[in-house]
Symmetry: C2
Subunit: 244 residues, 2 copies
């Protein structure tokens, strides 16, 4: 294995995943991962540009950043690339009016979006909101559309909370894809468009940045397919069994 | 198109789907499809053998048959091939102790099954039982197994109730497959083993039987792949849009 200095040659910026890298979510807001508050502080003191690239879709960026600041992290809202604001841009550009299957915690991000007479479905990590009734409603909306459009905020399989592994939005996206015979459009990691928007916001090219995450698919493979370097932490959902 | 007589030459038995063919389920037990009570009575008076081949997994066979008899159908429990009893045979043969993600209405079929210290998950059409909490529990059980085994009672995409289209077990099976990176074993249509057991119970070869159903995948394609003839009714979930 090459030395760290060699492997990181030319890196000018770091993209950090949040859940499983900075903290593990859970009851009472979750807990910082040991050493991560200090590691972020060191990164911020370095010459490297730092940006956060998250698929968090249960909370608005404001709530997420407020929670992380209370845990001791040096982070501000403008430093976060998240799927809900990216989705709102797409909805506006394409004249889409969503039926929202989302967590109440992220609903405020969609305050400016017209949700009357829906012509698409937006699905995010709704947690307990993934009831049979809510899933069936989203399914029925899609089945009534001539050209069903399903936007999914990420496609993660699961994440780790302090209480254990939790199903993410991906399995429910797959459920609706199968039920309707359609393919969702993913907004968030590992979509190349999403990584590219984070790089644009940092003012860096892909080869100048490294992505740090706990998800081998969403973070590591996704970033590598965009030409970035990537590093998998051994916290969060990392498991020696699940490397591929 | 060949004449009916020619297309049905050599047919000695009829396998009938139940939901969407005999009746549409829904509040208050559902309603018979117009003409189906009389059509079944005529079939029973004919020289043809008649058997019912259903993926119904919300009700025990006893409850299903009781409900159909109250709606006027000539049907008895011994004439029904259903996935829950077939699953119990598999569990016993393979020494599997299931965690059950199923509807309360079918739980009695599993009364003789050891569910302690589960080493597999059985998923059926749980309806409202497909809560986030129940799905997450099934997911966690699978993730803790060295060799996760997921048995799914059918893999239907949706069915029609009097109130509209309803998600079936298939989408939830796909959700767990994706979350765990595994492939489920389907017990029920369109599994060839399931059709073959129905044929055995009729004492017929595949080429001597015709399957009648409303599901182009589960009923029609599945039966045809087993060498049977098949006929799609235009009731139930049939839609001119969904032929493939």
């Amino acid at each position: 294995m090459a030395a760290w200095g060699e492997r990181l040659a030319g890196v000018r910026g770091v993209l950090l995943d949040i859940s499983g890298v900075l903290y593990d979510g859970g009851e009472g807001g979750g807990a910082p991962i040991a050493g991560s508050v200090e590691a972020l502080a060191r990164l911020k003191r370095s010459q490297l540009k730092v940006r956060f690239c998250t698929n968090e879709s249960q909370k608005s960026r404001g709530d997420l950043v407020g929670m992380l600041r209370r845990l001791g992290f040096d982070i501000s809202e403008g430093e976060v690339t998240a799927p809900a604001p990216a989705t709102c841009l797409i909805l506006k550009e394409r004249g889409l009016r969503p039926h929202l299957l989302i967590h109440d915690g992220v609903r405020s991000e969609f305050d400016q979006i017209d949700t009357s007479n829906p012509n698409c479905v937006v699905i995010a990590d709704a947690g307990e909101g993934f009831s049979y009734q809510n899933m069936n409603k989203a399914f029925q909306v899609l089945m009534e559309l001539e050209n069903p459009v399903l936007l999914s905020l990420g496609k993660g399989r699961y994440y780790k909370e302090t209480s254990g592994l939790m199903l993410d939005v991906g399995p429910y996206m797959k459920a609706l894809e199968y039920a309707c015979g359609i393919e969702a459009e993913v907004v968030g990691k590992p979509s190349p468009e999403f990584f590219k928007s984070a790089l644009r916001e940092m003012g860096l090219e892909a080869h100048q940045a490294i992505m740090i995450g706990d998800d081998i698919m969403g973070d590591v493979s996704g970033a590598q397919r965009c030409g970035m370097r990537a590093l998998q932490v051994r916290t969060g959902k990392f498991s020696p069994k699940c490397r591929a």
